[in-house]
């Protein structure tokens, strides 16, 4: 209690930390004359936002999992599986709404399975979801017959449209969906009993159990909700590609986890926020976008993003020093 940094400054640092990173990234490209003009345009921001949708949806669920002290390596496979199911349903003549719901539900079921295995078999989430990563990916390829599923165009392909209809939407419907869900999830995480229990479990699971919290139930719910988000993300993936591709999003789970971590999530649990995660997603998207504009090859992007992850976590540690 005795030594504390000024509370206001500390709080400001905690909230603003990730934003500073985002501002730096944007400022960096805004100052480079070659790309300045194109980078700062609204059209560019719009496309960055659209490109962020798939990772952002996965990261919303992943934030809950990571705050609870878990991890989900099956997120990207789950996205691919859900996109394949959506395409399959549309191709089979289902109404687009039914297909979309089926896709989301598929994701939710995979998440439920993850949660059930983690709590019932008492396996660590890393192992369970590593297994599920293979299972979901394999199932996606199997259902798709190891190729892309073409599906007729429907309104389900409009989510990721570059120029949305009606035009007063300004941003693609998918972007609006992300914004609404992000607000909703931030509220759930901060203002509900459920959110508080998620933090408690991630911070000290045995203390939570001691206080009478049904930890298994909370965890199953966390993984299921995260699964639903992956399902929705899969629908967006289908919408973007207009086909169900079982080989899509390979390795994307690491981008999703990285976004949460850059946004202040701790892999030891107990820490993380929706706002931070969303900023983490934006940092990565702007970096990709800027690098592409500069004409830098892919490998440069990979190196930069890798470095950003390490730097972000190191800064985060410094920020929390002395606590």
């Amino acid at each position: 209690m005795s030594r504390q940094r000024p509370a206001g400054l500390q709080k400001a640092l905690n909230v603003l930390g990730p934003f500073i990173g985002l501002a730096l990234v944007i400022a960096l490209f805004a100052l480079i004359p070659e790309v300045q003009g194109r980078f700062l345009r609204f059209a560019n921001f719009k496309s960055v936002a659209t490109q962020s949708v798939i990772v952002a949806l996965g990261a919303l669920g992943m934030t809950f999992i990571i705050v609870s002290g878990g991890i989900d390596l099956s997120a990207a496979s789950n996205i691919a599986l859900s996109s394949v199911i959506t395409a399959y349903a549309i191709n089979a003549g289902a109404a687009p709404l039914v297909a979309v719901l089926l896709g989301v539900l598929t994701g939710g079921l995979v998440g439920l399975a993850n949660g059930a295995l983690v709590t019932r078999l008492r396996l660590i989430p890393f192992i369970v979801t590593l297994g599920m990563m293979g299972i979901a990916r394999g199932a996606a390829k199997w259902i798709a017959g190891n190729q892309k599923i073409d599906a007729p165009m429907t309104w389900a392909n409009e989510f990721m449209a570059r120029s949305p209809r009606p035009s007063w939407l300004l941003l693609a419907p998918g972007v609006w969906i992300v914004i609404l869900l992000a607000v909703a999830m931030a509220v759930v995480l901060r203002y509900t009993v459920f959110g508080r229990h998620v933090f408690a479990i991630g911070s000290n699971e045995s203390a939570a159990r001691l206080c009478g919290i049904r930890t298994s139930r909370v965890k199953i719910l966390v993984y299921s909700v995260a699964g639903l988000f992956c399902g929705l993300s899969g629908v967006m993936e289908f919408s973007r590609l207009t086909v169900g591709d079982p080989t899509v999003a390979v390795g994307l789970e690491l981008d999703i986890i990285a976004a949460v971590v850059i946004g202040g999530g701790s892999l030891n649990g107990g820490e993380g926020s929706i706002l931070g995660t969303m900023v983490g997603v934006m940092i990565m998207s702007f970096l990709r976008n800027g690098c592409t504009m500069m004409g830098w090859p892919n490998y440069i992007q990979e190196i930069i993003i890798g470095a950003i992850i390490v730097i972000a976590v190191t800064l985060d540690r410094l920020r929390h020093r002395g606590e």
Partner: protein
């Protein structure tokens, strides 16, 4: 002071027994706790206090015996039943969620909400009221618990217990990590609890504190209740006598050995995790016992000396070389060897073989051009297995599959294999069977005869008195006194460890002033 005699006890435990395998942890213990009473539960490490409290909380079931709360039978099926019965445990290792705020921790599991939506205002108000009640209004409900001092964390736990409508609060060594001032405030809170008719079971090794704060006491020794009564009018030395009982120092093989020149000397050694500087010397052929309670700074001293914890000042001289601040590898190369008190967590790699564990600290004899020579390693290890009488299927068996005693022998064999000249043994006989213990005592004697220097940390006084040449006592982070063994007896050691005063001829027995 005296309550109406008709008031029935809040808690009655009668004939409670519990065995773990062959060891009888509790043997027909009877215990009564009055309403609003503070009852000290006293006993050495391993006397059965924590087993008894685990049974009370519902964490483990008793083998035999009855429990009653308010005259009604109480047979908890799990910790949840204990909570419902109004029993709150405040453990040494705190059970708070560090990332959550004070309010969030206190209200955890009983949030005020409407259809899942938190009513933060109501919860904060309730927490603030409770904090004021225990006279700690300076603790903010909004601060994260990991930023609090240990004392403040304890207050948070107590408030949580209070809001849980606890009627019996069990405090396990509550002051061991507290400053004087925080302890003082804790005693005030205990007074408040009494005022609200909450009963407190107070477990502490610090007898003077227990005397001040408790109304009555029960002493456990070897799983049996050996005495109980009102604290008023009871002398400290009576309690100590009850704790140590009539123990003899037989069963300790005396191996003749001669003490030689000084090989290790600490001068004002100060470490990051040590509270006060320590000066000590250790000679060749000497067995120096280190007594003290758990948490009294013994282990921290060993670790700082060996280089596992950071040294901040003072000097460590090993056979003429200044070693303060050395890393463990350097300490080993100068002949130091440390046997960790945490055999399973740190001392051994349980999943690896006997051979690898034994030779881990020195692979040089089995190495050529960076390659291991398993044949040589195996031959050497087989020899050690024979010499140390280790019961194992062979060098390739996993250490984790051995019994505790045999694991400890492997750990000890490692020190001998690395040819340590100064052995720092931290609780080498903890949790191992009697036969292995006797063998370890004998080896320690043999090692001293060979001219090795041994520092022997133990919480078990008879073995210190039985095999050591000299005994140094630690209390609350500092060295109280070091003297030749013949000048110590069990009550004197216990007094020094629990009260921090050494001289048995001193008026140790003081009537409770307050």
């Amino acid at each position: 002071m005296s309550r109406e005699p008709a008031a029935p006890p809040v808690l009655r435990m009668a004939g409670v027994s519990k065995s773990f395998g062959a060891t009888r942890a509790l043997d027909g213990v009877t215990f009564e706790l009055g309403r609003g009473e503070v009852h000290a539960l006293i006993g050495e490490n391993g006397a059965g206090k924590s087993t008894m409290m685990k049974i009370l909380s519902g964490a483990i079931p008793p083998d035999a015996g009855r429990m009653e709360i308010d005259g009604r039978p109480y047979a908890p099926a799990g910790p949840a039943d204990g909570l419902r019965g109004g029993i709150s445990m405040i453990y040494q290792e705190l059970t708070l969620a560090p990332h959550l705020t004070v309010e969030e921790n206190i209200m955890l599991g009983r949030e005020v909400h409407a259809a899942g939506w938190l009513d933060r205002k109501a919860m904060k108000r309730r927490v603030r009221e409770a904090l004021e009640l225990v006279r700690h209004p300076e603790i903010s409900p909004d601060v994260r618990v990991r930023k609090l001092s240990v004392g403040a964390k304890q207050v948070v736990e107590i408030v949580r217990a209070l809001l849980n409508r606890a009627r019996i609060v069990v405090m396990d060594e509550p002051t061991s990590a507290l400053s004087q001032e925080d302890s003082q405030r804790l005693f005030e809170i205990i007074g408040k609890l009494k005022g609200q008719d909450v009963s407190v079971i107070y477990i502490s090794h610090f007898l003077e504190e227990a005397q001040r704060v408790a109304d009555s006491y029960t002493v456990l020794r070897d799983g049996r209740g050996v005495g109980s009564g009102r604290m008023e009018g009871t002398l400290l030395e009576d309690l100590i006598q009850l704790m140590v009982g009539q123990k003899f120092t037989r069963f300790f093989p005396k191996v003749e050995h001669a003490v030689g020149e000084v090989i290790l000397s600490l001068d004002g050694l100060k470490g990051a995790r040590m509270t006060s500087p320590v000066s000590l010397t250790l000679s060749r052929g000497e067995i120096l016992g280190i007594a003290g309670l758990i948490g009294s700074g013994r282990t921290e001293m060993l670790r700082t000396l060996f280089g596992l914890d950071e040294a901040e000042g003072g000097s460590v001289v090993v056979s003429g070389f200044e070693m303060a601040g050395a890393k463990p590898w350097a300490s080993i190369s100068r002949g130091l060897g440390l046997l960790s008190e945490d055999r399973q967590g740190e001392g051994l790699a349980l999943g690896r073989s006997v051979a690898d564990n034994m030779t881990m600290s020195d692979f040089t004899p089995y190495r050529r051009h960076g390659f291991l020579r398993p044949g040589r390693q195996r031959r050497a290890v087989v020899e050690w297995i024979g010499k140390m009488k280790i019961k194992t299927k062979g060098p390739t068996q996993k250490v984790g599959d051995l019994s505790g005693g045999n694991q400890q022998k492997v750990a000890l064999a490692r020190l001998l294999h690395q040819k340590a000249a100064i052995l720092l043994l931290d609780e080498p006989t903890r949790g191992i069977d009697v036969v292995s213990k006797a063998q370890i005592y004998e080896w320690i004697g043999e090692l001293a005869r060979e001219g090795k220097a041994v520092m022997f940390v133990s919480s078990y006084l008879p073995e210190l008195l039985g095999i050591c040449d000299r005994i140094a006592v630690f209390h609350r982070g500092g060295l109280v006194e070091s003297r030749p063994t013949p000048e110590w007896d069990a009550p004197g050691l216990m007094a020094a460890a629990t009260v921090g005063r050494a001289h048995p001829d001193h008026p140790m027995s003081q009537r409770i002033a307050e």
